[in-house]
């Protein structure tokens, strides 16, 4: 691993995206539009204040998962990855470069989503908006890291899109949006404790209601951080210089 090569890779990924303004607009605007739609649907009920924080976790997570997994898969398919791996680029440089580039986009995307939810849709946040943003960013980076890992196991674009329902939907169903996690059947409850998105949603709801102290939110952030690191490390291990 080498910081110059990692940063060069991150810079390269960002300039690729810069040549694609439509993707930038979609990345930044789509989560906010969906959150706005949800606020409108529930405009005469108190529902938005309970599910709103979870949505800030959800949409950037899904969008970043998809964008990252497809971009890295494209790199495998076009032969540029083979070229890079025959050059003095560390596998860690490659994965970390992608994580940094998409992590930066995740920060922007989450900032737009949080700002829009709070100041335009009137989501009531009792806790710190900054802490809310921190959790949202961690969550979008988690989507990026899992997307990188998923792309290692996909050979085609069709397969990678199937990873969405396979890896992401169970986390949404068990994350406490449809039914609070403490009301789930015991086995599912125990299983959901192991899913990173559950912790992201717990943390966002804790900040929104100010129902827990900062140490609790910090602990949840640590769990999400551990998942990010784990996915990045596993992603670079599964990257092979030699292929059949």
């Amino acid at each position: 691993m080498n910081p110059r090569r990692t940063l060069a890779t991150a810079g390269r990924v960002l300039s690729q995206i810069r040549h694609d303004p439509r993707t930038i607009v979609l990345l930044l605007v789509v989560p906010s539009l969906l959150i706005g739609l949800l606020a409108w649907i529930f405009s005469d009920t108190p529902v938005f204040d309970t599910v709103g924080p979870a949505m800030i976790a959800l949409f950037p997570f899904i969008v970043m998962f998809l964008v990252t997994s497809i971009t890295t898969l494209r790199e495998r398919r076009t032969g540029t990855l083979e070229r890079l791996l025959s050059m003095p680029l560390g596998k860690g440089d490659f994965i970390l470069g992608y994580t940094l580039a998409f992590g930066l986009l995740a920060v922007l995307q989450s900032a737009v989503a949080v700002g829009y939810s709070v100041w335009v849709c009137g989501l009531s946040i009792t806790g710190s908006v900054w802490l809310l943003l921190a959790v949202a960013v961690a969550d979008a980076v988690l989507g990026t890291a899992l997307g990188l890992l998923a792309s290692a196991f996909a050979r085609t674009e069709f397969q990678v899109v199937q990873f969405m329902p396979a890896l992401v939907f169970p986390q949404i169903l068990l994350g406490g949006i449809f039914l609070p996690r403490d009301q789930l059947p015991d086995a599912l409850r125990a299983f959901s404790d192991w899913l990173p998105l559950s912790h992201a949603i717990d943390a966002l709801q804790a900040v929104a209601n100010d129902s827990q102290d900062a140490a609790y939110v910090g602990g949840e952030l640590l769990i999400i951080g551990a998942w990010i690191v784990g996915a990045v490390v596993l992603g670079s291990i599964t990257l092979r210089r030699r292929t059949p």
Binding site: R5, R12, G79, T80, R83, S86, M87, R241
Partner: protein
């Protein structure tokens, strides 16, 4: 031309599969330093698998591949060997210069080096264009330019002249010989027989085997033919290849 004692590449008894299919069955060859060596043979004869083995991105079943005195794929070789894949491996959503700037950053090459390879591959007029908007021939030259960065000691070029017009092809072959004259070793594959005469040495391949390893003139005189295509046919007639299906069964 610079001749050194140790060859640039030595391959001994190499067995390799591409996907699930056995492609190389005990191949041995050597590529001398400072020459343009042509790897000539029909599509599917194992040229790409051999080249991937030399640059260290191919899983090999058995055998030895030594590149510049080290085992192929050794980390220290990655900056000393330039590789151009058959399909141009460049980023379509970056400009020519941005593509090369990224590869240069990975290799630790300088900004001057980027200008040098753009010049050498005749891309100065397209440097600011997105690679995706270029013609096939232009894109493959961007890919080639990337491999020239950092002046590697060995260049492994998989069909670098496909789809280029005759003038450009002649220019690239002249470039290859200029590089060889400065001591670079080149292994250039082609399935076009008339390119063979432009090489210093030829490796003729068929069904994963080397049929001949000679200079173009030596090949013509030993087969008593006037062009490489006829020589190739004469060699096939002299070495009838065993049934590939029987060979695969024996191999597994």
């Amino acid at each position: 031309m610079v001749h050194k004692a140790a060859p640039a590449v030595v391959v001994r008894d190499l067995h390799a599969r591409r996907g699930k299919h056995p492609v190389l069955h005990g191949l041995s060859l050597s590529v001398p330093r400072g020459l343009v060596v042509g790897l000539i043979g029909p599509s599917g004869c194992g040229k790409t698998t051999l080249m991937r083995s030399i640059v260290g991105v191919q899983i090999v079943q058995s055998g030895e591949v030594t590149v510049l005195g080290r085992a192929a794929g050794t980390a220290s070789l990655r900056g000393r060997v330039g590789y151009v894949t058959q399909d141009a491996s460049v980023y379509d959503d970056l400009t020519v210069r941005q593509n090369l700037a990224y590869f240069a950053a990975v290799l630790g090459a300088t900004r001057d080096d980027i200008d040098r390879v753009i010049e050498a591959t005749d891309l100065a007029a397209n440097a600011g264009q997105l690679a995706g908007s270029l013609s096939g021939g232009q894109r493959s030259r961007v890919s080639l330019a990337g491999a020239l960065l950092g002046s590697p000691e060995l260049l492994v070029l998989d069909e670098p002249t496909v789809g280029l017009d005759p003038v450009l092809r002649a220019e690239l072959w002249a470039l290859f010989h200029r590089l060889a004259a400065t001591g670079t070793s080149l292994l250039v594959s082609s399935h076009v027989m008339d390119e063979a005469s432009r090489c210093d040495r030829l490796l003729l391949m068929r069904h994963g085997e080397v049929l001949a390893d000679d200079t173009p003139a030596g090949l013509l005189s030993s087969t008593g033919t006037h062009d490489v295509e006829a020589a190739f046919l004469a060699l096939i007639a002299a070495h009838p290849s065993p049934d590939p299906a029987a060979r695969e069964a024996g191999d597994l």
